[in-house]
């Protein structure tokens, strides 16, 4: 799997797939997509890069602590859920706001979107955390 062809294609694909995963995440509320799908897409392209280039080589220049990613995601998602309580609403009550920005036009801000970002980070973090640990295991 480590031929020059796969290496070249992977290099080109990584930024494209990551951008696409972010667009899936942000578009999720109204179009196909969402945090889970975006997260899995992000995770699979990084996992693919691990396989193609080798975990040891990638770790020399790109070695994030994936545990922090899912920790952050879970914190963000829980905070979003709890934040409604601070405004006297029920747990998990969501809020919708439409904002007009120059250049972008009408933008919909949903508190559930923040929750979705939390999901995104949890999916990426936990999948790659498992992946890296299984891959690191020498026995």
């Amino acid at each position: 799997m480590t031929t020059i062809i796969t290496k070249t294609i992977t290099k080109i694909c990584i930024p494209l797939v990551i951008l696409f995963s972010i667009s899936l995440l942000l578009a999720g509320h109204n179009n196909p997509g969402g945090g889970f799908i975006g997260g899995v897409m992000f995770a699979s392209v990084i996992a693919f890069a691990y396989v193609v280039f080798g975990l040891r080589y990638i770790k020399t220049f790109f070695n994030p602590d994936w545990a922090k990613w899912f920790g952050f995601g879970l914190t963000l998602a829980s905070l979003t859920a709890f934040s409604a309580m601070m405004f006297g609403h029920n747990f998990f009550r969501s809020a919708v706001e439409f904002v007009h920005l120059p250049l972008f036009g009408e933008i919909e801000l949903v508190s559930a979107g923040l929750f979705d970002i939390g999901v995104y980070f949890v999916v990426i973090g936990s999948l790659l955390f498992i992946f890296k640990n299984v891959g690191d295991d020498n026995e």
Partner: protein, 789 residues
């Protein structure tokens, strides 16, 4: 700040500040202990803010914050004199203990963890005593058990600490569960979990006493109290809890946490006392524990062991006195018990701190090796004498006063029972006092008097630093103060507390000298007998050792160990049989269960298994796809090598996602493609490390069995799906309509699937992502625990 807010703050402050300890440790380094001291001091002051209201005016501070109204449970504060007293003890002794710890704990220890646990414990203890409803009381109660478990097991590398911690948790937490059952019964009888509603209404109390569940409720709650205060057969956890650092033993296992059981007995005193059951249960357990624990203290060689048994015995004094009751006078011993509770907290915490100093300086706690330290540690010696003599009941120290009151109330209780009890109960009391006298003297004599053993402790011993000397010195000062001028504690602490227990204003008159009364005679008899027994001290201890060696079954520990060991063995046998590690076995177990739960009931209940009006109108491209799917599934099952089988499996997955696109479910299709990709990558990674061919030879009978299971499951799922999708069973149509109609309206999203995930069923998603995080951590632990072996 009003009293209610002050007490609420005192409960939650330690919890919040425990979270800040790691930050403060970065700033203060090894002096982080002083931050904990400041927290405890703040709690003490906050409780003090409520003091004028409760102690001065005699009010009961009450207040409620809505918590779980649907369950009838609120966060309620009930602050009477009793709660104030224990609140002051918990925070006040907390200040002294944490100051002392600054000198005691080595700088290389994990101080952060130590002070966090201490603060969490203090918060739980304060929360427990001020709890105004039983469910809240239970929660704080179990929190004290858990923090105690953490502190006993503080030195994680020592097997004895782990053993002691586990034992204490098993006994005190399961006692707490019995107590919860009792509280639920009480809630069932009265219809309320609110303590004030029960205590303030004489009719409710009468109704409880006449209820048929009265006895079982009392027994269940008392089991909780006895387990916590190490009474009756539950005493065995306290000696092992001495594995904790000595300041912890002084704080939790003598002055505060073990008093929780006594506090509970005092708290439910108005509800249950005045009955025979109360006297027999509480006083009976108390008297037996007092005598047995006092006697067993003789054979202890560890000075903390002696202190542990003496704590059990002293707690039993209080239990006995709270148990003294008659129908006409429900609280004969209440004042004495409450006074003794306060006194015991002062002199016993002081003795533990002295034990900590001795162990710290001499590096041993074995009383056979110690001796003659009075010259090298004169100040410690004086402090130890004051506290030890107070425990022995020597005038003019505070222990003398409360012991006199114990004798008085014993005489009174004996007289009201009449018959043989007139003499028996005071005799038991004196015997308990004799044992106490003997081991108190042994402590002072064994450590400080006599000859110095040069071989056991060769190096030079000196006084400890001031941080370790001032806390016990302050406690010793209190011991003298309470003894010489008893009116100070009596008027400001004991009278309000007793009023809180008896629910009527109490007036007590206690003087150091009160003439030649019967109780003074009993004290003199106690001293004479105590000196006599002390001359035979070592012989009694040797006899006990010998007896225990010959008859191991006499010890309750013997049964505890056997029960725990056999539980471990059984759990191991069960899991080694049910969890063999064979995935095939798990798979067939799951599928067989599925057959039992779905196929068999469906076959029995259904009238026609295959619906009559089937829709065979399939577009040709779907038909082709379905054929391809079947081919892929069959290949995955029968291909002989791993790699082609995996490729067939992923072909199946991609095919299913194509089907989703035909069925107009883009989200599902996208997810399916991605998950399939990821799992194929993982599979491909895994097969590079294992043999490329299936090694296992499958016999014909096993093969037939597996085929049979597979076909049955497939057939039952097939029939089930036919029935649900072909309009025979149609209960779910309305559900999806709700989401279609409301997703834009309520959640502002057009993508229903996503809106369901992040909004309508967001709670589920939160749970799922939490599970994902836990699964990731679980995988990490599995991999790393395996590589350690």
């Amino acid at each position: 700040m009003d009293s209610f807010n002050a007490i609420t703050a005192a409960i939650f402050l330690p919890f919040i500040f425990a979270g800040l300890v790691p930050v403060m440790e970065k700033l203060l380094k090894q002096r982080v202990g002083w931050f904990a001291v400041a927290t405890a001091l703040t709690c003490f002051i906050l409780i003090g803010i409520a003091a004028p209201d409760v102690i001065g005016e005699g009010h009961i501070v009450q207040g409620t914050i809505s918590w779980m109204p649907s369950a009838g449970v609120d966060f309620t504060i009930y602050a009477d004199g009793l709660a104030m007293m224990i609140g002051f003890i918990a925070s006040g002794i907390g200040v002294l203990i944490m100051s002392y710890s600054n000198g005691y704990m080595s700088k290389t220890e994990d101080l952060k963890r130590y002070y966090q646990y201490l603060l969490l414990f203090m918060g739980s203890m304060i929360g427990m005593v001020f709890s105004g409803n039983t469910i809240q009381l239970f929660i704080f109660w179990e929190l004290t058990s858990i923090t105690s478990f953490m502190l006993i097991g503080y030195w994680r590398h020592k097997p004895e600490s782990i053993y002691g911690a586990t034992k204490s948790l098993l006994i005190t937490a399961s006692g707490g569960l019995a107590m919860l059952a009792g509280f639920l019964l009480l809630g069932n009888i009265t219809g309320s979990f609110d303590l004030a509603a029960i205590l303030n209404d004489p009719q409710v109390i009468n109704a409880i006493k006449e209820h048929e569940l009265f006895l079982i409720t009392l027994i269940l709650i008392f089991i909780g109290a006895a387990a916590k205060s190490a009474q009756g057969p539950f005493y065995i956890w306290l000696p092992n809890a001495m594995e904790a650092p000595t300041p912890v033993s002084a704080f939790l296992h003598s002055a505060t946490m073990v008093k929780a059981g006594i506090y509970l007995v005092a708290r439910i005193h108005p509800i249950f006392s005045g009955t025979e059951a109360w006297f027999i249960l509480v006083s009976g357990t108390g008297i037996i524990t007092m005598l047995v624990a006092g006697f067993l203290a003789f054979r202890q060689t560890d000075i903390k062991g002696i202190l542990a048994y003496s704590t059990i015995s002293q707690l039993a004094y209080m239990m006995t006195m709270y148990g003294y009751t008659t129908h006409h006078e429900p609280g004969i011993g209440v004042a004495a018990a409450t006074f003794h509770l306060l006194n015991h907290a002062t002199f016993k915490a002081c003795l533990f701190l002295v034990a900590g100093i001795v162990a710290h300086e001499a590096a041993t706690r074995d009383i056979r090796k110690l001796g003659g330290l009075r010259r090298e540690m004169p100040i410690t010696f004086i402090i130890a004498c004051i506290a030890g003599l107070a425990m022995a009941g020597i005038p003019p120290l505070n222990g003398f006063l409360s012991k006199e009151m114990f004798y008085e109330s014993s005489l009174e209780m004996g007289a009201s029972l009449g018959g043989i009890f007139t003499f028996l109960i005071p005799a038991f009391a004196v015997l308990g006092g004799v044992f106490t006298f003997a081991y108190s003297i042994k402590l002072i004599d064994g450590i400080f008097l006599g000859e110095r053993d040069k071989d056991a402790i060769p190096h030079h011993i000196h006084e400890p630093p001031m941080t370790m000397l001032i806390p016990p010195a302050f406690l010793a000062f209190l011991v003298i103060l309470f003894g010489v001028i008893p009116s100070i504690p009596i008027h400001h602490i004991i009278e309000p507390a007793v009023s809180g227990i008896l629910l009527e204003t109490a007036h007590l008159h206690i003087k150091l000298w009160h003439g030649f009364t019967a109780s003074l005679m009993m004290t003199i008899v106690t001293f004479i007998l105590g000196i006599l027994i002390y001359t035979k001290y070592d012989r009694i201890a040797a006899w006990q050792d010998n007896f225990n060696m010959k008859n191991p079954w006499i010890s309750i520990n013997y049964y505890y160990d056997r029960a725990v060991d056999s539980a471990k063995g059984n759990a191991f046998r069960f899991s080694s049989r049910s969890q063999t590690g064979s995935i095939k076995l798990y798979m067939s177990a799951m599928l067989l269960l599925m057959i039992a739960l779905i196929a068999i009931p469906a076959a029995i209940l259904a009238t026609n298994i295959v619906p009559s009006q089937l829709n065979f109108d399939i577009p040709p491209y779907e038909a082709i796809l379905l054929v391809l799917l079947i081919v892929a599934a069959l290949s995955a099952a029968i291909l002989p090598k791993y790699l082609p089988a995996i490729i067939a499996l992923s072909a199946l997955g991609y095919g299913v996602s194509l089907l989703f696109i035909y069925l107009k479910a883009p989200d599902l299709a996208l997810t399916q493609v991605l998950v399939e990709t990821l799992s194929t990558i993982i599979f491909l990674l895994a097969i590079t490390k294992i043999p490329q061919k299936y090694k296992e030879k499958i016999s014909f009978s096993v093969f037939t069995r597996d085929i049979l299971i597979a076909i049955t499951v497939a057939a039952s799922v097939f029939v089930l799906l036919l029935n649900t999708t072909q309009g025979i069973v149609d209960p779910f149509a309305s559900l999806s309509h709700y989401f279609i109609d409301n997703s834009l309206l309520l959640a502002g999203g057009h993508n229903i699937v996503n809106v369901i995930i992040v909004d309508f069923r967001g709670y589920d998603t939160l749970g799922e992502i939490a599970v994902m995080c836990l699964a990731a951590l679980g995988v990490y632990n599995l991999i790393h625990s395996r590589s350690e072996e």
